[in-house]
Symmetry: C2
Subunit: 337 residues, 2 copies
Amino acid sequence: MKSNVTMKDIADKLGVSSVTVSKALNDKEGVSDELKNKIKYLADEMGYRYNAMAKSMKEGLSYNIGVIIPERYAGLAQSFYLNVYQTITRHLEKSGYYGILHILNNEDEKNLTLPRIYYEKKVDAFIILGQTSKNYIEKIQNIGLPKVFLDFYDEHADIDSVITDNFYGAYEITNYLVQKGHCDIGYVGNLTSTSSIQDRFLGYYKSLLEHKLHLNYDYILNDRDENGVYIDIQLPEKLPTAFVCNCDQVAHNLVQKLTKLDYQVPEDISVVGFDNDVYATITEPGLTTVEVDIEEMAHNAVSFILEKVKDSNKSFGRVLVKGKIVYRNSVREIKQG
Amino acid sequence: MKSNVTMKDIADKLGVSSVTVSKALNDKEGVSDELKNKIKYLADEMGYRYNAMAKSMKEGLSYNIGVIIPERYAGLAQSFYLNVYQTITRHLEKSGYYGILHILNNEDEKNLTLPRIYYEKKVDAFIILGQTSKNYIEKIQNIGLPKVFLDFYDEHADIDSVITDNFYGAYEITNYLVQKGHCDIGYVGNLTSTSSIQDRFLGYYKSLLEHKLHLNYDYILNDRDENGVYIDIQLPEKLPTAFVCNCDQVAHNLVQKLTKLDYQVPEDISVVGFDNDVYATITEPGLTTVEVDIEEMAHNAVSFILEKVKDSNKSFGRVLVKGKIVYRNSVREIKQG
DNA sequence: CTGAAAGCGCTTACAG
DNA sequence: CTGAAAGCGCTTACAG
């Protein structure tokens, strides 16, 4: 089980050249079946492990893709992104690539420090999973490697991003509330925080417009400060009959707050979320929410990034992935007066 | 910003050799300060990025450490392990190493499939973060790379592991309950599931023994099946006045269950957890629990693994890291009758 | 079907 | 202080 067995060692034992061993182990043409089998068998027996670095050196490709997740999405949200990461690596492996996770800490984000895997050429490209600061986005955009933004986008038109169809998802789930008889519907989220929150707000607003419902700014509640840190949600004097929350975690916070004030969900007030992450099921009652299609998003991000590695001129733009509503028990039907 | 700038390119522009460039960029002896500065400046200007692979090839070291987390610790628990992972990488970076996260999926665990980073020599050693199946442990033990088990251990004496002092932590928090006047104390956890749960149970039991309290098997509740999947906790006819739970997540489940049955925590029944993870604060009321010293555990695991990379004969055995009790509001004092 | 030669981008002795 | 040579473990033409 020595770990320093090389193709040369195998070749020497068999009295052939390492070229032949390479061909045999890679199932390439030009080796008799008999010899090939002998080589493979011996490789196994000698505990040979392929040295991917040597190939990488030759080709100038590491066969690694860096996946950057900002630490700011700490706590539970990570469980969602970790899920995405896992799906990404699964897709990468199909193409002989490997994912390298880099959690971007706040300090590095502020100082615009790129991951060391970049400076040491340990990756061929980056998938950035989760919105970073404007400055950091710009910094990343200027590096010479292919990159794809996942789950957020930026004003720069020339970047490729894969995002949930936040606008349409929020539009649909708001429509659902309207169908259930709700006319006073609020929205919870910091409108200037991320593109997701904004787009979800606009989808919500479109539904109101379409149904000729009034957008009451007293019903737009802030959920986080400018650093993305959750704040205590301030409720208005008079409450609407339903709230569209920009994500499940915030919906969870809202339900807790309402429960403490002796409101019942959904009897007194209906609440819907977005993401269908752990918070959707943790919350009591379970949240009706928009499920994000992680599989499809990861699949797109991976196929885009690999195509860009092959041909850096490829461009995909902003690609939307539709979610679907998952119905639970956080919405009640309002009888029409 | 071409990414294919090499030391040779810099050398050619300056009319020196690449050996000199290498020395300058690595701050080694044998280059005049003037030339060194010129080289560094030009490297920067040409957008040079160091090719770590070339060095790795020479030395036969990848400068990567694989961190394996079993997928089974899915959902929220991941947030805890992700936290540990982040701390690990921070420590690794200080030594010029990089962490490569590998989430071990259930299928690979069952089929005893090792990560591709092993077969392709992309890592020099492994840290296994979280208990895997017996068979997988054995499989990993037989590979020729250094490894350290983190947050669990195995009967095999020859493996190095870093674990929380589960026994002592559970012992202390149970002592605390006794101090608060509790005499009927239950324990929640599957005693045959993981070493952590077992050791915490034994710490709890030691406290009972020491205080001459009776161990009532009706008060030992199961929380998960043999695959580690959480099950509905079955409460006994008569309840104790307090429960020691093997982890915060289970404590959270128990509190939810009790609340549904109209018991009040801590008024009717006290509950303590273990880990001090997100569940400790999510739960209403906040859980009194044992905080695991992630920083110290990660630090130990990293320094052990790096020493083992340098000298594969080094051995550290089973190393315990003490936790500390964090007091919140899930325990009430019982007046002595 | 098989192999000698060259090269990927560094670093490590060693020589000057 | 500076550099020519060799080598890390592969693969890719190319020749036989």
